[in-house]
Symmetry: C2
Subunit: 210 residues, 2 copies
């Protein structure tokens, strides 16, 4: 069933999660597809369609039980699991990710930081020591790390990406502004800040110039 | 015409732009909807539908003229314009955005940096001096700034967002992990890193656990 989940549904999944989490904190125990749709600015039929694909079912006249749906989505997203992750590249962006740590909430524990810069190696951020990138492969193998955050410059991202995958990494959160060209079985989530900036520009233009 | 452009089309617009830019650098002067669709991992009919809504037309048997389409998308996205922008919050993330400057390419010129931290005020990043946030409103008004990047912590984001809008800001690139609750006429593009991380986790889980 799960392999048929479309990209568009996957994009909405974190939004469902956040919405339902907020409802739980407000003590709401059931939610209709139309109320949820309104909150998310989509149609009720799209909510029902997504939930159907995800195997989440409601009750006629009552809607969806928030607690059950929340736990099921959490389970689907693997948030119930504990992942050990490493961050490769501890420049400003890498450091910002460690410091504004949003990882823990979703079950991600940062266990290693790596950089090439001798001025950074040995420093501690949030209690984790930055290691030389020379230790990267051994660390991944020894600790069976499967997920990594890549915050290195564009020009070395492909090489380091391949190195990590060869050592055992199976999922990469890629901030490096370049395609990593890795085998399809490797899960890569690209953060395209430029795309978002272009969207802002376009929407601004549409609103204020057209 | 432009007001009917759907959110989904807007999301794809930067991707069309990047694809066609790459083709131009390869000397490709015409492109069929099916070839473009293949590159973007969507259907040809979706490409034709998007281009139709955007007022971009091809020629039977020849496809779309890449140069013309490129310039039209650039124009639609306002990339031909020059925007002055400011960055509010110059912690690690704000600094990373200034240093890895991807703004200039899209016509955005950083003209001001602001922070509350006395240790940062007065420092220069990429030749731009960090000012006290006390100067923010006056700076926006005096220089008629309409776009801002918000990289402040969650707990003060709403307040600063409102302050900026009152002073004249019309578009905000929001990295603060919170809804700014601004009037609808203000264009806000939220960067939700947690959502992206959850997507990574879900896709990884689907690939390796299911």
């Amino acid at each position: 069933m799960q392999n048929k989940i479309s990209k568009a549904t996957i994009v909405r999944l974190p939004q469902y999660y956040n919405c339902i989490e907020e409802m739980l904190t407000q003590g709401i125990d059931h939610i209709s597809s139309s109320a949820l749709a309104k909150k998310m600015d989509i149609t009720a039929s799209l909510v029902r369609q997504d939930f159907n694909v995800l195997g989440l079912f409601g009750q006629q006249g009552y809607g969806y039980p928030t607690q059950k749906i929340y736990l099921k989505i959490k389970d689907l997203m693997g948030i119930n699991c504990h992942h050990h992750i490493i961050i490769v590249g501890t420049g400003n962006l890498g450091q910002a990710l460690v410091i504004n740590n949003h990882f823990e909430k979703y079950g991600f524990h940062i266990v290693g930081l790596f950089d090439v810069n001798p001025r950074l190696i040995g420093l501690e951020i949030s209690g984790i020591k930055i290691q030389s990138i020379d230790n990267l492969e051994e660390f991944i193998k020894k600790n069976r790390i499967t997920m990594a955050v890549l915050t290195v410059p564009e020009n070395c991202a492909k090489k380091i990406g391949k190195q990590m995958v060869d050592a055992g990494i199976k999922a990469i959160w890629n901030f490096s502004h370049t395609d990593l060209n890795l085998p399809e079985k490797i899960t890569v989530e690209n953060i395209c800040l430029s795309d978002s900036l272009m969207k802002l520009s376009f929407r601004f233009h549409l609103q204020n110039v057209s």
